[in-house]
Amino acid sequence: MNQITALDKTVQTNKTKISARNVNVHYGDSHAIKDVNVEIEDNTVTAFIGPSGCGKSTFLRCLNRMNDTIDICRVTGDIQIDGENIYDPRVDPVQLRAKVGMVFQKPNPFPKSIYDNVAYGPRIHGLAANKAELDEIVEKSLRRGAIWEEVKDRLDAPGTGLSGGQQQRLCIARAVATEPEVLLMDEPCSALDPIATAQIEELIDELRNSYSVVIVTHSMQQAARVSQKTAFFHLGNLVEFGATGQIFTNPEDPRTESYITGRIG
């Protein structure tokens, strides 16, 4: 997959999964996200790039309302998933998060067995009627997370005992187990070595077949390798959004060009 250069990427148009209109986020007095409009497509990997503190992680966390846990955070605007506003008062964030899974920057498996890590989501959402079904979900999810072969003989071992890359793939399997439709990834490879990173990137490309994947990354190379669409954030603004090939070869905004050529950031 590393041979694929950004230029060759074919971009087919898929149906819109998430659409954000005039999204503003305030942390107390600071204005973290300013009037962001973006359309995220189904079966597509969308990368958010930009320098530290530009708001890309904040925006990502708006998409499954993880920002709700921060008292001082205020989100305005309209974010729709499949045409439904997720900030509608009738929406239960718990239900939303089952539909929009998330993988975090630092691998954070529960300090429980590998099996229980994956089985936790299906259990609390009642996705399995019996143990056999649950076993099946766990196996399927671990296979999707491309970690089944490595852990199938020690499902009872603690998830925290795995290596960093394995832990992150376990976290992806855990996120996949609840059968989400969107998968949010907040710098999933920043704590991993290059080999583990390559494995995760390969996995992301496969996940695209089933989900809409949104990935925040610091590495422009990674964005170029895994994504079809790229959004460049700068100081809380969405500066440019378009096909990855176009952003990396022919950016329209001078700020985007400065960033991808390494002059800022």
Binding site: P51, N64, M66, T69, D71, V94, Q95, R97, A98, G101, M102, V103, F104, K106, N108, P109, F110, P111, Y120, G121, I124, H125, C171, R174, A175, A177, T178, L235, P254, R255, S258, R263, I264, G265
Partner: protein, 457 residues
């Protein structure tokens, strides 16, 4: 980062200034020497401070052990008592109600006869009357005898072997606390009685053995220090701890979880937080008078009851438990909460499935330390009437244990320490040993729990 057009500016470098580190690295500069000396001095102060602390601990432990171990030994005399039917059961019907009418005064002659018989049997020559001979026995002996007869009325008429407590003076003589010189002005014992004691020791009739009654028994009146034990006050402490555990743990943990995980951070929760910390610093006697006013005077709960003691100690322990529980919850990394919320757990599921199990060892440790604190607390008990001679028998039911008057270990120690007889003083030290064993055990359990289950991220 924000200014895109910025180019790196040239740093103007002037002519090379002379080095500030000209001297050899092999020789220490005066400045370094001074710093090193200061460091050595500081280490010496630290070691001296630790040394003083250890010395104090050593003095404390040796004093307590030296003075308290005596309480775990007690002197007994073995006598054969004839349970004369004519005196104990005149009607001969073995009717328990009739036998109960005979008070301990009625038993005293039997004991006098038994001592006199023993002295005669051993061939000890003495001018002492039987009454004076019986003076080497505890005043508790008649009560022991009566209790036996009431339990075994069929033994009336037989001769039974008994092991009686000796008086506290004889016990002190055996332990070296009382000497022939020190009793010159003591009306309770005479040198002639001590002669008898010496002879009985020689014959093996009188001996000092391990004192189980001290650990299991009840407090005794001023005249019978040899019969006093910690057992009932230990039960009092136990029932108080049950109340504290049953109330302080759930209330404290629930309050901490709410404050830490759910409550919005605003001025109200800030005030609550500050006041919880303040409560932890309130002197315990304040909780005592609060308990007196609210639980006894207003709610009319019984005086001296472990239930009230437990309620007061709950008030005192709550801040400790809340503070340690919040610390334990805070120590669980937010990534665990994120992970749970990220797969669609509700906040409560995240807390109860993931955060709480990880915080449990810390909560448990805090609870045990809070309980240990409460166990050793005396001041609030003074105000709710748990100090004094509360001659209670061991409670038989849970309700009895909670509601009938009782003392507690530290209150019992205080009570003994303020009584006049030096034999009680020895028991106060012995009580301290028992209390310390409990406290050290609890703290050790807390440390082990923390070590074993502590998780590092």
């Amino acid at each position: 980062m924000s200014d895109i057009s910025q180019t790196p500016s040239q740093i103007a470098t002037a002519g090379k200034a002379p080095s500030k580190h000209a001297g050899s690295l092999l020789a220490q500069s005066p400045h370094t020497k001074k710093r090193n000396a200061a460091e050595r001095r500081f280490r010496a102060y630290g070691m001296a401070a630790i040394g003083v602390g250890l010395l104090m601990l050593l003095i404390l432990v040796t004093t307590i052990v030296g003075r308290g171990t005596g309480a775990f030994q007690q002197t007994y005399v073995t006598l054969n008592v004839e349970l004369v039917e004519k005196k104990l059961d005149k009607s001969g019907t073995r009717d328990l109600a009739a036998i109960k009418k005979v008070t301990t005064f009625g038993y005293a002659p039997l004991i006098r006869d038994a001592v006199a018989a023993k002295v005669a049997e051993l061939g000890i020559e003495t001018d002492l009357k039987p009454k004076a001979l019986a003076g080497i026995l505890s005043k508790d002996a008649a009560a022991t005898l009566r209790a036996f007869v009431l339990e075994n009325p069929d033994q009336i008429g037989e001769t039974v072997e008994f092991r009686f407590l000796t008086s506290s003076r004889v016990d002190g003589y055996m332990k070296g606390r009382v000497s022939r010189d020190s009793i010159a002005n003591d009306k309770n014992i005479s040198p002639e009685q001590l002669d008898i004691v010496d002879a009985m020791v020689g014959a093996g009739t009188l001996e000092t053995v391990f004192n189980l009654d001290f650990i299991t028994g009840a407090d005794a009146s001023d005249a019978r220090p040899e019969a006093a034990g910690m057992g009932v006050s230990m039960l009092g402490s136990l029932f108080m701890m049950l109340v504290v555990l049953a109330l302080a743990l759930p209330i404290g943990v629930a309050a901490s979880i709410y404050l830490e995980e759910f409550a919005p951070k605003n001025w109200l929760t800030d005030i609550i937080e500050v006041n919880i910390s303040n409560l932890a610093a309130v002197p315990s006697i304040v909780f005592g008078i609060l308990g007196l006013a609210v639980f006894i005077n207003y709610m009319h709960l019984p005086m001296s009851a472990p239930l009230v003691g437990g309620l007061v100690l709950t008030l005192m322990t709550l801040p400790t438990i809340i503070i340690s529980t919040r610390a334990a919850l805070k120590a669980v990394p937010p990534s665990i909460r994120d992970a749970a919320l990220g797969v669609g757990a509700s906040r409560m599921q995240a807390v109860f499935h993931h955060v709480l199990p990880l915080a449990a060892p810390g909560i448990l440790t805090g609870t045990i330390i809070g309980l240990a604190q409460a166990l050793g607390e005396t001041a609030p008990l003074l105000l709710i009437g748990m100090v004094g001679f509360i001659a209670s028998n061991a409670p038989e039911t849970l309700a009895d244990g909670l509601l009938s008057p009782n003392s507690a270990m530290p209150a019992q120690i205080y009570e003994w320490a303020k009584r006049a007889d030096p034999a009680f003083y020895e028991r106060a030290w012995g009580g301290i040993i028992i209390l310390l064993i409990f406290l050290v055990t609890m703290n050790t359990i807390a440390v082990i729990l923390r070590r074993r289950f502590e998780r590092r991220w």
